[in-house]
Assembly symmetry: D2
Homo-oligomer: 349 residues x 4
C-alpha cells in the first residue's frame, strides 16, 4: 500500500527519524530530458525550516537519483530510484512518547494496525514522507508540461481568513507569499493569524485549491476509475486532509439544477465551470478545479490528554518542532499528488 | 476500470438500455449463509418508480444469481455472477440525443474518451449501473454484520433544508421517510422542496451522511491505502457526487487545533470524534462518519443549450423519466459502496 | 483472483453444474466491429460432445452478450458482460462424490482452501470454466488480427506420438484433424492412441505448441512483467498444464551457447529463432513459439484410491463423462489465453 | 512492472553500471525479528567474483537497510527500503556497444521497447538486478521458516551432465558444491564441463530444481491465481530462464493417467507426488517440486554477428566479465523468487 498509481507509479519508503526516506518511480516515460534542478527546487519548496511559520527542523532535502537516467540526462524507461537522507532528526525529543499515544495523531492507530510503531517524529506517519511524493510529482509535472498541462495549487483559506473569489492567481504570486496565498492582503492576514495562533501554542487549519489547465476532454475512466475519484483518493492520502470537493462542491450541491448546470457554447466549451472540469468521471476540457480541507495539526504546545499504551490517560505537553499550520507546505504536496494522478490518467488512454 | 476493491472485488457491466446490467463479486468469504431476501430488499430500496419523488421508470430489479452459492445457500469462495435484466427501457425517448450531448451529463466526455457512446438513457454512465453496486454491497454488509459492523446512511440536507445535528438516527427512521431523512419535520420539508422543484422543471442537490459503527481500531493502510482515501474514492465514484468530508470536515478545517483535537479518555476511547473515526488513514475505534455532496441532476424539464456532435449548440428540452433529486436513491448506494470499502479494508488485515 | 490481465481484463464466474458460466471483458478497445459469428465459432471449437474423442456432455455453448456493444455491432469501450447457460449437467453422476475427494483432482485442495466445495462435475475447477476464456480470447484475437498478429496452436505430441519438426503448420490443417494435429499421419496415430487408451479406461497427456506471428519488436515489460513470464502464467492457469517452455526450451538449455545463440542478420532479423521470439522478456520481432505440457486427465474408468472427507481412503470408480485426452480441446484454450496475454502486452505500450 | 507480488511486494530499481541497485519491500509482516546477517549471507551467495566459474566482477554487495526496521531489529510493518551500491562497474568495457546490439541479449529489445537503453553491462537487463530479488527473498524466507516452510533449490543438470534421481538433497550439500549440485560426483563433472566450455570461449545451460516443504494444503488461488502459475511467472522472470515444469512435468505429460495419478493414502496424503504438490492451482500438502531451464548465456568469447543500431550487421567479439554458466548463481535467485511467491500466496489466505 506504499505504491501510488497504475501507469505512473510511485513507491515510497522511510520513517521520519530513520536513515533516509526515498522511493521508486516506475512507469516514467523514456527519453524525457529531466530538469533535475527543478526537481530539487520542488523539494526545496516543501522542506521545513523555511521561516517562522514552519517547523524548525533543518533538512537540506537533497535528492539523490540512483537509477533510470542516462549519462546525458534522459530517462531510460526503467525505474528511477532515489533517496533523501534524514539529517536533522532529534529523536530524543520523542523519548517521552515511547509508551504514549498523542491525541489526534496516528500513534495509536499504527499501533492498533501493526502492534508496533516507530514513536520518533511520527515514524512513517510523519509528513516527512511527503518529500518523496514531491519528487514523484516533480517528474510527473515535467511530462505534463511537455503536453501543455499545468498544475497549480494555492492556499485559499486559513482559519476564518479566506481569499476573495475574484482574485487572479498565478504560480509567481503564490510563491511570493509566505503562506502560498496569491492575494497580498489576504496573505498578510494569514501570516498574522498563524503567528498569533503559534504564540498561543495552538494551530489552525485551512483550505487549499488546485487548478489544472490544459487537460483535453476525454481523460479519466468511468465507473470505478473516475478522474475525480482518483484525485479525491490522492488528496485524502495527504496527511491532515479531511475533505475534498470539486467545482462548486458542497455549496453547489445545496443549489438548484438551473443554477449549476454547465450549458454548452460552441466547440464543446461550457459557458460555466460549476462541474470543475469533470463530467461522469471524465475531463470535459475545462480547467479541473478542486479544494482540499486540511485540519489544524494536532500538536499543540499545550497540555492534552494522551493515551498510554496500557490504555490509561496521561497529561502530555508536546515537544519537538512542528508547523502551526500545514497549508503553506501542503500546497506543493497537493500539486505533486495532482500531477501524478493526472499523468496516470493521461497515460491510461 | 470496472472493478472495485482489492480483496472484496466487484466487477460490473451493463448499459441503461442494454439487455441487462450485472456483475461478478470476487473474494466473497466462503461458507457464509447469504440471506438472498435481504440482497433483493436492498436492491428494491434503490429501484426507481417508487413514488412521486423518483423517476417513473418501472424496473422490478430482480437479481438472478448464477454462481458461487451452494445448493444449501452457502458461499463457495468462488465468484458470484449475477444479472439484473433491463425491462422498462424506453429508448425512443432518447432518439433525439443520437447527435446531441446534454449539458452537465457525461454524454460529451464519454464520446471524447471513446469516440462512441450509447446515447440511450445515459448508457454506461446511467445511475442504473449502481444497482450492481447495491448487490455487491448487500453481500458485503452481511459479512460485516456478522463481525458487528453496521453501515447506515441518510439524507442530511436537500437544497437549503438541513437536518438538525442533535437528531437521533436509526435505519428504521430513515426508511420511514420518503427522502431517507430520519427527522420527521425536516423530511416533510424536503419532500415539499422536491415537489416544488419538480413542478418548476428544476432539480436540487443535497448532502448524505454515512455512519459506520463497530469497526475496531487498526483498519486501513497508511500512506496510499488510507481508509478515508478509499472511502473518498468510493463515494466520488457514485454518479453526481461532488465532494466528501470526514468528521468535522471543511468546517473543522477552518478552526483551531484546540477546538478540534480528539483527546483520549480511558481504554483508547476519544472524548470527541472530530476526526470521524480515522487517524492517519487507520480507524481508531470510534464511529466512522463522513458526508457526501451530490449535485442537482442536470436533466431539467427546461430548454438548455446542448452541444451537437459537430461542435455546434442546440436548444434541447429533456424527455425521459428522471429523478428531481438523487438523494433518496443515493443513500442505499452510499451504504453499498461504504460496506464494500470497509470489508475490503477489514480483509486486508 | 478470477480476473486475468491488466489492460485487457477478463473476469469469469461459474461452476460446471451451476446455472451458467460467464464473464466480463473490460478494456476492450472501443469502435471495433466484432464478428459475433467468429466468437461463437471459437466457442464451438472448444465445446464437448464433438465426437468419440471427447466428453459426451452435450452443451450447445451459446454465448449471450449482455452489454458493451452498440446496436450496430461496435464495441463501446464499456465492459462486455456475457453468459453461457449450463444445460446438460447431470449432477446425479456426482452424488457419490459428496464426501469423497478424487485423486489428482482439485476436490481436496479446494476443500482445504475454502472449507467447502461444489462436488458436482468439478465445480469451479472444471474445464467448463475455460469456455469463458475462449470468449475473451475470441474478442482479443479480433483486435490482434486487425493489427496483423495471428495466434495459432496445435497438438504437437500425445503420449509417445510426436509430430515431426519439419511439418508445415496452418490453421486449416489443424482444424481438419480430430486431435488438432496438422500432420495427417501423426494425427491418425494420435486418434488411434486415444481410442485405445479410452478402451482401456485410461487417459493420456501430451504437448501443445503455440506460434504467434506479427508481433513487432518491443512488446513486453522487463523484470517482473516479461512477456514470456506472462505467457507462462497464462498457460499454467489452464487446467492440467504442468509445464511451459519457450523456443528451444528444456532441450536448448542442455546445449552450448554456440549452438543456441541467435545471431543477427540485417534489419534486426535473427538468423535463427532458438529464443522463441523473446529476449529479456520483450519480443524481438521473430515468431513467438512455446509449448505447453498437459498431464493425462486423472479421471480413469478404473478403481482408484480416493480420500474421504474424514481423511480415510475409499475405492472409487469414476462415473460421469470425461475426455480421455485434453489436448484437442485444450488447443483453443491455449490460443485464447495467448491472444489475451499478447493483446494485454500490446496495450501496455 | 518493476513490482513483484500482491501481498508481499518487492519493487526494484537499478542498472548494472548505475550508482546503485535497490528496492522496497512492502507488505513485510510487522514484529518479525529479522536476522540481517542471514540476509547479507544470501546476498553473498549470489554475488559474482566467487571463483573460476563465475564473472570476475568484484562486488561486495553489502545491503544497506534504510527504513522499516525498529532500533531493536523488529519489522515495523512499514516498507523496507534498501540499496546495494555498484562499486566495480567497468563501463569502458562496454564502450563498443554504444551503437551495437549483442545477439541473444536484451540490447535490441530494450531499444525497441523504449527507444533508448543503457548499453553498459546490460543496463537494467543485467542479472545484477537479481541481487535485489535475493534481498526480498531473504526477508520472505525468514517469515516462511517461522511457519515451517523451507525453500531449497539446486543445480540438477548442466549441459548433458545430470544428477541421478535417487540422490538425497540438503542445503548443506548444495553449498559444498561450487556449482550448487548436491551430488559430489556429478558436481565434479559439472565443474569440469564449465571449465572446458569456458576455455573454449563458449557457455552452457542447465536445469535447476526447487523443492518447497512445509506448505499446508490449501495455499494458492484457483483459475487465474494458481500457485503453479505464479511460480511459473516468477521463474520465467529470472534472466535466461526458458522453461518451467512441475512434478513429472513434460515427461509425465507423455504418459498415461494410470502411470501418473497420485492416489490417496490416509490423512489426505498422496502415495506419490507426480503432481509436484499442486492440484488445481492449490497446494495439496505434499512437497512442491519444479524445475527451471536456463539457457546458455549468450556472451561468448567468440566473434558473433551483432546488429548495429542502423539495422546493419557487425562482427562482435565480447569483452567484459561474464559467467560461462548461470546455474550456480541462479540457484539463490530461484530460491528467492520461490520464497516470495509462496509467502505471497500464504498471506492471501
Amino acid at each position: 500500500m506504499n505504491t501510488f498509481g497504475r501507469n505512473f507509479r510511485l513507491t515510497t519508503f522511510g520513517e521520519s527519524h530513520g536513515a533516509a526516506v526515498g522511493g521508486v518511480i516506475d512507469g516514467m516515460p523514456p527519453r524525457v530530458k529531466v530538469d533535475m534542478d527543478r526537481v530539487q527546487a520542488e523539494l526545496t519548496r516543501r522542506r521545513p525550516g523555511q521561516g517562522a511559520l514552519t517547523s524548525g527542523r533543518k533538512e537540506e532535502d537533497i535528492v539523490r537519483i540512483l537509477s533510470g537516467i542516462s549519462s546525458d540526462g534522459l530517462t531510460l524507461g526503467t525505474p528511477i530510484g532515489f533517496i533523501i537522507e534524514n539529517k536533522d532528526a532529534r529523536s530524543e525529543d520523542y523519548e517521552n512518547l515511547r509508551h504514549v499515544f498523542r491525541p489526534s495523531h496516528a500513534d495509536y492507530t499504527y499501533f492498533a494496525r501493526y502492534g508496533i510503531r516507530d514513536h520518533r517524529g511520527g515514524g512513517r506517519a510523519s509528513a516527512r514522507e511527503t518529500a518523496c511524493r514531491v519528487v514523484g510529482g516533480a517528474f510527473a509535472r515535467q511530462v505534463l508540461e511537455a503536453r501543455g498541462i499545468r498544475v497549480m495549487a494555492f492556499t485559499r483559506r486559513i482559519g476564518r481568513v479566506e481569499m476573495p473569489d475574484s482574485v487572479d492567481v498565478s504560480p509567481g504570486l503564490v510563491e511570493l507569499s509566505a503562506v502560498r496565498c496569491p492575494e497580498t492582503v489576504t496573505s498578510e492576514k494569514m501570516v498574522r493569524l498563524i503567528e498569533s495562533v503559534r504564540a498561543d501554542g495552538d494551530s489552525v487549519g485551512g483550505i487549499a485549491e488546485c487548478r489544472i489547465s490544459g487537460v483535453a476532454a476525454g481523460v479519466g475512466d468511468p465507473v470505478f476509475g473516475k478522474l475525480d475519484a482518483a484525485l479525491a483518493a490522492a488528496m485524502m492520502g495527504i496527511p491532515a486532509a479531511k475533505g475534498v470537493e470539486f467545482g462548486m462542491g458542497f455549496d453547489g450541491c445545496c443549489r438548484l439544477g438551473s443554477e449549476t448546470v454547465d450549458e454548452f457554447g460552441s466547440g464543446f466549451r461550457t459557458l460555466s465551470n460549476n462541474s470543475g472540469g469533470i463530467q461522469g468521471g471524465i475531463s470535459n476540457g475545462a480547467d479541473i478545479v478542486f479544494r482540499v480541507a486540511f485540519k489544524p495539526v494536532a500538536t499543540l504546545m499545550r497540555t492534552l490528554r494522551a493515551a498510554t499504551d496500557c490504555g490509561g490517560v496521561e497529561e502530555l505537553k508536546a515537544r519537538g518542532r512542528h508547523d502551526p499550520c500545514v497549508l503553506p507546505r501542503a500546497v506543493p504536496v497537493v500539486e505533486a499528488m495532482a500531477a501524478m494522478t493526472v499523468l496516470d490518467a493521461v497515460m491510461e488512454i
